[in-house]
């Protein structure tokens, strides 16, 4: 037997495979046994009910996608009444993703979802901060610090802070999030991108721009996950472009304790379940008995710190 258990702060997951927020919902249970997953991460909710962005909300770009779904949300009451009971049928930790436009709104929502049945809160700080100049919290260490401190003081549940690739200060943001009380980092969200139809000359997303996800995002998110794992002591959860077990292994070697899988589930709804069994096979074949034995085994001993933490390509 291979031991796939992994520890994210105080939370022990039976395996490191979980969905990425916004790419998973109750409906996947129609296709696969979601009880096998290491955790259930829900679509980001806001406190109030709100609509998402105009359509088209998704377009394809060379084997990956852009999305501008936004955060359509049924609000926190609906979440507590309907969503939590659904997931509590399963013996799988429920991770609730939240978002707001000010630090105080974040804290209030965080407090509202600190209820029995929720195992951890994922703080999606890739949204505009209207207290500031409208730039996403996750772009800057200062905004990240304020929001994480506020949510920290409003809940005693584990807090997973989800970073964004749309920053030049990955390591600084990661460090302040840790310092402000995050229990884990999720690395990362989608990268701002654009696509134009050359015939109509119209942007291919209703919202003009959107977030890149899928295989093209992987090298970027992997680089960030590596930098974060090198700089913080709290666990890092890798996310971005995973579609096979080899992608997962690569993230684990880079230093993450678990992974989230998003876009690949749209193409093959059984991706997470398949990767789970492939992971067990892979570790067995490599004679690795314990998942922990592969985590952070990247051979980078001769690389100077400056290179590890660099923010631009040479």
């Amino acid at each position: 037997m291979v031991n796939l258990r992994t520890r994210i702060g105080d939370l022990i997951l039976k395996n490191p495979i979980m969905p990425a927020s916004g790419t998973f919902s109750e409906e996947l249970a129609d296709v696969i046994d979601i009880g096998q997953l290491g955790a259930h991460v829900t679509k980001t909710i806001t406190e109030e009910k709100r609509e998402g962005n105009p359509t088209p909300r998704i377009c394809e770009v060379n084997g990956s996608i852009l999305n501008s779904i936004g955060i359509p949300s049924k609000g926190v009451e609906h979440f507590i009444k309907h969503t939590i009971p659904f997931y509590n049928q399963y013996d799988v930790p429920l991770v609730t993703s939240i978002s707001a436009h000010t630090s105080d709104d974040f804290a209030r929502l965080c407090n509202k979802v600190t209820v029995p049945g929720v195992a951890a809160i994922e703080v999606n700080i890739s949204c505009p901060n209207i207290d500031d100049d409208g730039k996403a919290f996750a772009m800057r260490p200062s905004a990240t610090k304020t929001v994480v401190q506020k949510v920290r003081s409003s809940s005693d549940l584990p807090l997973w802070v989800k970073l964004s690739p749309n920053t030049g200060e990955t390591v600084e943001v990661a460090l302040v999030a840790e310092d402000a009380g995050a229990d884990a980092l999720v690395v990362s969200n989608t990268m701002l991108a654009m696509s134009i139809d050359i015939t109509s000359r119209k942007p291919r997303l209703g919202n003009l721009m959107g977030g890149l996800s899928g295989p093209s995002l992987k090298p970027i998110a992997l680089r960030m996950a590596y930098q974060c794992a090198k700089s913080v002591r709290i666990p890092v959860i890798g996310c971005g472009g995973i579609s096979t077990v080899y992608d997962v292994i690569e993230y684990l070697i880079a230093g993450v304790k678990a992974v989230q899988i998003g876009t690949a589930t749209f193409v093959h709804p059984s991706t997470m379940i398949n990767i789970l069994s492939d992971l067990e096979d892979y570790l067995r074949e490599q004679n690795i008995r314990n998942l922990n034995d592969i985590i952070g085994t990247v051979q980078d001993a001769n690389t100077i710190d400056a290179v590890v933490f660099m923010e631009t390509a040479p």
Binding site: L28, V31, T55, P56, N62, I65, F266, S270, N274
Partner: protein, 281 residues
């Protein structure tokens, strides 16, 4: 070790899954006219417990020239549990559908489904009307099959640019429907003419329910007639999709819900909706 790129999900001892990811073997995939192809696959029983109006999310195999990434939604055109057969009628439009055309007999195609809410035929709906144009005929064809099975009277108005692309009229006739064809070239497909045809029927034997798909003008026409004569109906709608399962919120459209306008997912809350609930676009 062998990497599982696709399915073989373990399904034993689980609560009944209703949506399946299967590899189906192609029996036939060929053009039926300049624009449309008919895809016929050998399908396992699990996915054949499907209903008219539902769809499958098809993984179109990538080629050097055409590399679709996401699946493409296709309505069920025909299905037979006895023959173990499933059919799709598709219009070649872009990368995904072009990639589909390369599939040959005995190749496999990965299907996810059946998905979505089907059409309903209520027990007291005896005289049915289908109004369809273009690829909308594909979506409505299995409804004709079901109407035939339930021994209902069916009138189908098939609309097309010209008689060359009027592909499904014979198909509907074989299913026992009375078929009226209208075309742009003959000038018979104008909405006013179609309205007359329908109103004649309403005044004659009467119509208990109306169904349509795919065209804004036809939807508006039936909504008007439905309100005027208090006739219920349903419409199958399309929207670009990513997951097809209801997870991503990509496929929303606006709908009337009483006095309010709400957003619903076409893949999960539809693709079949109440005639009056749908918003013309």
């Amino acid at each position: 070790m062998s990497i599982q790129t696709a399915d073989n999900v373990k399904r034993n001892d689980q609560p009944a899954r209703s949506v399946f990811q299967v590899e189906a073997i192609i029996k036939r995939n060929s053009p039926i006219n300049k624009e449309y192809h008919l895809l016929n696959v050998d399908a396992p029983q699990s996915i054949l417990r499907c209903k008219p109006g539902q769809f499958f999310h098809i993984l179109c195999p990538a080629r050097a020239a055409h590399q679709p990434y996401l699946r493409r939604p296709m309505s069920i055109f025909g299905y037979s549990l006895e023959k173990g057969e499933l059919q799709f009628l598709y219009k070649v439009t872009g990368n995904g559908t072009r990639a589909l055309t390369y599939l040959k007999k005995n190749d496999v195609v990965n299907l996810l489904g059946p998905l979505g809410i089907p059409f309903t035929i209520k027990p007291n709906w005896v005289n049915l009307l289908i109004l369809a144009r273009g690829v909308g005929l594909a979506t409505l064809a299995p409804l004709a099959q079901e109407a035939n099975r339930l021994e209902r009277n069916l009138i189908t108005i098939c609309s097309a640019r010209n008689s060359d692309v009027l592909m499904s009229d014979n198909h509907f006739r074989k299913l026992g429907a009375e078929v009226i064809t209208v075309t742009d070239t003959e000038g018979t497909s104008k909405m006013e003419n179609v309205r007359h045809i329908i109103e004649d029927r309403i005044c004659g034997d009467g119509i208990d329910a109306m169904y349509t798909c795919g065209s804004n003008r036809m939807l508006q026409l039936l909504q008007g007639i439905g309100t005027k004569y208090a006739i219920p109906g349903q419409v199958a709608l399309e929207q670009q999709m990513a997951c097809g399962l209801g997870m991503c919120q990509c496929c929303v459209r606006s709908f009337y819900c009483g006095k309010k306008i709400v957003q619903k997912r076409v893949c999960r809350d539809g693709p079949v909706f109440g005639l009056q609930e749908a918003m013309a676009w």
